[in-house]
């Protein structure tokens, strides 16, 4: 979620420093060494984030990988026993929820990419016009982004409830046997959850594209209209390509959102009965009463490996750019 802001923040000081260094450098030939104090300050500035990173990211990741090859009930450390690849074979062959979870994560990705993200772009383009009350509409569409997904899940329960929900009421089926069981029917509930997730994702994408659209040089559009391009041509040939950096961010966000999709299904039925997701399986096996640390870790490692694909692609792209 915080990816875009973090990126822009981390990019700014770096580029500033890059500009400043040559200006500051004294006459060539005289190398100014860092004083002891500078070294200490630098050491702390580099050391603390490194330690934080180690403590909260690398060490837990490494431990998860190690634990995924053990059996452990989460009690005494002496209860940990080596298990080889037993946990992985359990996940891949014995656990009936795993493959549906993978499918649902892919479905989630496709749905967000094909429906939710374009919807956000459409909203952004519409709201970027000089229409009256544009700010109000922006807020309306952005509010779901500020709500936690758990709350989103609860709000949508009100719409989807079988006998008293708004949706069945509008369809005129509330209280009749024809009422659609939006959450209980396992062939419908994933779509219901996806719509709830879209409601939120579209607002998120919208706000990013609004920022992107503001950043597109107006003279480009002017030049396009002078050349006789219509609105559609201007958008698809000029404006959209000019937003390339934003587009990459959106792609990454969409992939990440589909991998970490969790809250809505957890609120509905803890990720069972047609709503299986890998993230929900991780939590089921790692936290609370059904704790089996080894198996939960195996799920987490699988999720990590899948997540590494888009992250690697993204990082390699950004680093390639910085070389220029």
């Amino acid at each position: 979620m915080s990816t875009p802001t973090e990126l822009s923040e981390s990019a700014t000081p770096g580029s500033r420093a890059g500009q400043r260094t040559p200006a500051r450098r004294p006459k060539p030939g005289r190398v100014r060494r860092l004083s002891k104090r500078d070294k200490v300050v630098l050491g702390i500035m580099v050391g603390i984030p490194t330690l934080v990173q180690l403590a909260f990211v690398w060490i837990p990741t490494l431990l998860s990988v190690l634990l995924s090859f053990t059996r452990w009930n989460g009690l005494a450390l002496s209860d940990i026993r080596a298990a080889g690849v037993a946990n992985y074979s359990y996940v891949f062959t014995d656990n009936p929820a795993f493959w549906p979870a993978v499918q649902h994560n892919i479905l989630w990705l496709l749905f967000l990419a094909v429906i939710a993200t374009p919807l956000g772009l459409l909203l952004a383009v519409l709201l970027d016009q000089q229409i009256r009350g544009s700010k109000i509409y922006q807020s309306v569409f952005f509010i779901p982004v500020m709500l936690s997904l758990a709350l989103v899940g609860i709000i949508w329960q009100l719409f989807y409830q079988k006998d008293n929900g708004l949706l069945n009421f509008l369809l005129g089926t509330a209280g009749t046997p024809q009422a659609v069981d939006w959450f209980g029917n396992s062939s419908v509930n994933i779509w219901a959850a996806l719509v709830a997730a879209t409601w939120r994702h579209a607002g998120y994408v919208m706000i990013l594209y609004l920022a992107g659209l503001k950043g597109v040089d107006a003279s480009l559009k002017e030049a396009a209209s002078l050349d006789g391009a219509n609105a559609r041509q201007t958008f698809f040939r000029i404006v959209f390509p000019a937003m390339a950096p934003i587009n990459i961010v959106i792609v990454v966000i969409t992939i990440i959102e589909s991998l970490r999709a969790f809250d809505v299904v957890w609120v509905i039925n803890k990720g069972t009965n047609g709503l299986e997701l890998i993230s929900a399986l991780v939590i089921t096996y790692l936290i609370g009463e059904g704790q089996s640390i080894g198996i939960g870790s195996a799920f987490a490692v699988i999720l990590l490996v899948i997540s590494l694909v888009p992250i690697t692609i993204y990082l390699s792209r950004t680093f390639r750019k910085e070389k220029f």
């Binding site: 059996r71 452990w72 009930n73 989460g74 009690l75 005494a76 298990a83 037993a86 946990n87 359990y90 062959t93 014995d94 656990n95 009936p96 929820a97 079988k162 006998d163 069981d181 939006w182 959450f183 209980g184 029917n185 396992s186 039925n269 803890k270 069972t272 009965n273 089921t284 096996y285 609370g288 009463e289 059904g290 704790q291 089996s292 640390i293 080894g294 198996i295």
Partner: protein
Amino acid sequence: MSLNENRPPAGNVRPGLDRRTLLKTLGVGAVGAAGIPLLAACTGGSGPGATPSASTSLTFGSGSSDDVPKAAYKAVTDAFTAKTKIKVTTNVVPHNDFQNKISTYLQGSPDDAFTWFAGYRMQYYAGKGLLAPIDDVWQKVGANYSDAMKKASTGPDGKMYFVPNYNYPWGFFYRKSVWADKGYTVPTTFDALKTLCAKMKSDGLIPIEFADKDGWPAMGTFDYINMRLNGYQFHMDLTAHKESWDQKKVSDVFDTWKALLPYQNPAALGMTWQDAAINMGKKKSGMYLLGSFVTQQYTDKTILDDIDFFAFPEIAMEGQDAVEAPIDGLLLSKKGGNNQAARDFLAFMGTPEGQDAYAKVDPSNIATAKGADTSTFSPLTKKCAETIANAKSISQFFDRDALPAMANNVMIPALQGFIKDGTVDVKNLESQAKALYAAQ
């Protein structure tokens, strides 16, 4: 100890911390450290391995954090103190936290006595050596309990570990007025139950109210059919994974259940037990297999007085001897085993006097000791109590008798799948059980 840790290392005195304050801190630290053995001596617990010593106080860890049970346990400890002059220090922990952290709690520095559940959830920690056996307490209070209660309080090594406080039965609940209108009678055999269901369906009712969005309520149906087909002992062996899931006895349970599926509410997977209880309150359904807590949903007294229940009909063996009735009560931690006062406290909980003190404040549950005051019971509560008292075996509900990972991660999805299409893969249940029980 923390005072010692706060002391800055010598030779690295920060500005603003002069020698005098440093010395003062050191002094406090030293006193603090010296105070620890004194404090330890006050708790009355001698070192592990010693025989129980006479003492005048104990600590009591309670997971009953809701207002009513919290006040009820306070009434018990007050009554105990008034009777014996032994001081009880109660530490109340929020209910879910207490449950989720029980293993670290027992491995750390637990209270002498604490609230917990019977069944596997008790036996597991007894087996890990984290609890103190209380056979001497049972010699005093054993006569107050039925055989079923005794069985449910026994650890895997045959020693006693648990003092039951209260419980509540599961059964088929129904509205008397609906049954009187249509002239239904209580079925005592499975065939009679099916006939009744068919009649209810033709009368336009949902015969058996059912809700399984949360996953666990369906375990009650599974447990009862399993016990009526294969007996209480098989239920215990299966949940302890001494029996394989991949056998005819287990698939028979599902095959038998299949006959009831068409009569259970088809919308079960989208409903919570509260939704289903409302349906029964509105007379939309004929009966509802659930725990007696279902009555909590009826705030209207006319509905509440209209509720009755009957035991799950007999199928193949044991008649109706086994009753599903989760029991809550008290345990002694390993440390508490050395404190005679804590043993006295558990013995007090096992007397009608102790249980009455509790039940006076929290009448929603049923006292487990014989001789407890039943004069204030409603007819329904009285019937619940009788059902439990007459039971030869008491099961604790699947999720309390089985490994939690098996109950939550395997059975919930499996039962939901079965409710959806009437199929279940017992072979897969067995391979999952193998993997999960092996990790314990």
